[in-house]
Symmetry: C2
Subunit: 217 residues, 2 copies
């Protein structure tokens, strides 16, 4: 039996390990989970007892194969529920993350198998994130950060790296969504801000920080 709290820790560890390939430190986890380092040490011991992480004092943790499987399954459930909320219940992309945070803990393999079929086996969620299959394998895709694209090129928005509601609402206000076409008109050398044309109509300037959160091709 894995508790909801333990599941949240596993997901946090997975997400940190995703970017920093080395072993995951106590402080990084406490930041992600918004708890104290002391609480993390407690929990790490419990996860280690249960065989979900490998742990050596002062050396940080790594997910075991079992822990990794569990973490990817949580991500699978989270993203499938997000698709459900957007495709079937007409939520907008900035509204679904919080609800999916709760739904991902529902425990029923049968439910997820059926949900996946009901949704037509989606491969990406409403933020463009890949949905791992039942074995935990992710679909790979050619994608770049908008910030790495050179001027005078036209690209399509595939995803966003930030699920934060205010950020997504800002994109809404710019009429940027998944599938939107962006043409890079100009890059200001000083701060790397970009002048872009959105869907062949309005022109705007976006900061480099924003360009770094947009995945395109």
């Amino acid at each position: 039996m894995i508790t909801q709290t333990e599941e949240n820790y596993l997901k946090a560890i997975y997400k940190i390990a995703e970017k920093e390939k080395k072993s995951v430190g106590t402080n990084a986890i406490s930041a992600q989970m918004k708890t104290t380092a002391a609480s993390v040490t407690d929990m790490i011991k419990r996860l280690s007892e249960k065989g979900l992480v490998n742990y050596q004092k002062y050396k940080g943790v790594n997910l075991t194969p079992v822990g990794n499987k569990h973490a990817t399954n949580l991500i699978r459930k989270h993203r499938l529920w997000e698709v459900f909320l957007v495709d079937k219940l007409n939520f907008r992309w900035e509204q679904v993350h919080e609800i999916a945070e709760q739904m991902e803990h529902i425990d029923s393999d049968n439910l997820i198998t059926r949900l996946d079929a009901f949704l037509g086996h989606p491969r990406f969620d409403p933020h463009g994130d890949p949905i791992p299959n039942a074995e935990g394998k992710f679909t790979l895709r050619v994608q770049n950060l908008l910030s790495d694209i050179s001027p005078n090129r036209k690209v399509n928005v595939l995803g966003v790296k930030e699920h934060d509601s205010p950020f997504l609402e800002y994109l809404n206000s710019l009429k940027i969504a998944l599938g939107t076409t962006l043409e890079i008109l100009e890059i200001v050398p000083f701060d790397k801000s970009m002048k872009i044309r959105i869907n062949d109509s309005q022109e705007t300037i976006i900061s480099n920080k924003v360009a770094q959160t947009l995945l395109v091709r």
Copy 2:
């Protein structure tokens, strides 16, 4: 903030109060919740602190209006999710209760409003139980126990009073579902068992205990 455990207690108290109109005793709750009487006393104090139940030592509890609203809302969520599982994900009626026990705790009014619309504002769940509206009002309906119907009458199955999976599977094996027509052919005086014809075809004998769990009109 109401915890999942507190929610489960509220629902238990509601269900007990539904049949026995007087105040709900500690033992009745401990039986329903499968805990000890001592644990119930602890929890009752907490619920009372939070204004969800009225409590006097040794006198049992009653839901306050706030507690009652919360309980009916849980039942609303539980039953709506059951409809979703059966109508949209093609689960059978004996498979959904356990999953709905988990889903009923998802906290989002917006979600439930949209789910209700997505399902076409259903008024009854897959077991024939009424779904309270957002204000907690139940649809009333003319219905009787099959055990109270006299011979030579034809009735329709409206609901079942037992959600237990083995019992529902037994009904499946008899080809009895919601909407099924039953004709009472004969009642054995000794044990009140009934000879019935199901959907104008097979004849069977069912015990009085079974006849007492079937709601018909």
